[in-house]
Symmetry: C2
DNA sequence: GCGCGTGCGATTGTCGACAATACTATTAGA
DNA sequence: TCTAATAGTATTGTCGACAATCGCACGCGC
């Protein structure tokens, strides 16, 4: 009978797709990473294993595995028989972090220019619109982060994306911890990003590079209050 | 008796200093990482937890924690309920790896030029002498790796060094796996490195940058056999 | 002969308990 | 009163065992 053929044998694609359950340590790492990035767990604080395990509803085994991952990312430091601590953001660390971000994002930008910079510029412009319409500083910072994440992802390089993700986590933590210093009174930040996006649309690699360097330099000076001179 | 006073109460400084024992998962990660980099554990192979734990004389708990660290580095991939596998080096991966290495090393080189490039050039020249006097290909590759590790460490950037260390591990693994393709008949490789070191001594940042890009491009073409065109 | 369901073996995932270490508060002595 | 040794407590480090899941081979039915 033809009636049976009318009954779908499988559920719609959208309902079946996301059944790829990631490992528990990975989920734990994601949760704790987010808690650190958002400032819920402040820098310098110790992570008690028993507390966290109870809070997340898992045993200490998987928890420790997830935390080891964050240690490998440099987000936590391990002191033997003492425990794990969230790193603190000194001016030197901020400077180094932005040096690394600059390395990654400049490489990503160069690669984008080798591909389809016009399409990339259009994508980035969308994020900038979100940034421009942000009502509070929190939303603006979120859009800022999104811009740079999209920038690197457009380079389609797994390694650059992975390295950048780690750095972005540190950046977010830093912004939350030093939010007083990150105040950007007017809309200068939006215009800086718009210029970067435009340089992609204009197919001007050298300009993109210069703008990125200046943008990073600005951020460092803003966050460190100019207390660190280059070594 | 005065003889007792002659006995030193404390050991010499050099013997007491390095008592900072690193955590067990960290040591495990180092061992396994080295085994993978040296080719002792070939790409694509599965890491049986029970075997490894017995081999290293530890329990599965710390072992799994150490392996999570390597997973975070991207050296292992985890498939739930299946186990951990060493990544395989496809041409795309090699290309991406060198893209990331290029990003890190170019940034390190730029930073060196902002500091003391002449001293850096001298340090690098020392490594090149070792490379030039290498008898077999293995020693030459080791010196090659040392050159690039020193290059990045001279930038004195913790994050660049950490990211580069991960990439160098992959590079070593790749060279061991594809050693047939990495044959460098004559002494071209030595001269390439010598030119890079010289560009530091000559305080020529632009030349360093160009040489590094060319050097990386050469390596990619050598390892992939020119099978991958840029995307 | 071919496809499918089922049982088996092996490996991973998780948990609780024990041991070791470091920090803290208390108390005795100078 | 201050120093120093000590007992106590809390936390981390490690281990062994149990449960869950997956791949594979055997056997049955069509």
């Amino acid at each position: 009978m033809a009636t049976k053929a009318a009954v779908p044998q499988v559920a719609p694609r959208s309902a079946m797709e996301p059944l790829v359950q990631e490992s528990t340590p990975s989920m734990i790492a994601g949760r704790v990473r987010e808690a650190i990035a958002s400032g819920l767990i402040p820098p310098g604080s110790q992570l008690g294993e028993a507390n966290l395990a109870r809070e997340l509803g898992v045993s200490r085994g998987p928890l420790r595995e997830g935390l080891q991952r964050l240690t490998a990312e440099g987000l936590l430091i391990s002191i033997r028989n003492r425990g794990l601590f969230v790193i603190e953001m000194t001016p030197e660390r901020v400077q180094d972090m932005y040096l690394a971000r600059q390395a990654v994002e400049r490489a990503a930008a160069e690669r984008i220019h080798q591909g389809d910079p016009v399409a990339a510029g259009a994508s980035l412009a969308t994020v900038i619109d979100v940034m421009a319409s942000a009502r509070d500083q929190h939303a603006e910072s979120a859009a800022d982060v999104s811009f740079h994440e999209l920038l690197v992802s457009l380079a389609a390089s797994p390694r650059l994306s992975r390295m950048h993700g780690i750095l972005i986590t540190e950046t977010r933590m830093c912004i939350n911890a030093l939010s007083d210093l990150y105040v950007q009174g007017d809309r200068v930040r939006v215009e800086e990003h718009r210029a970067i996006a435009q340089s992609f649309s204009d197919r001007d690699p050298a300009l993109t590079d210069r703008l990125l360097v200046a943008h990073m330099s600005d951020a460092v000076h803003r966050l460190t209050g100019g207390r660190v001179e280059q070594g």
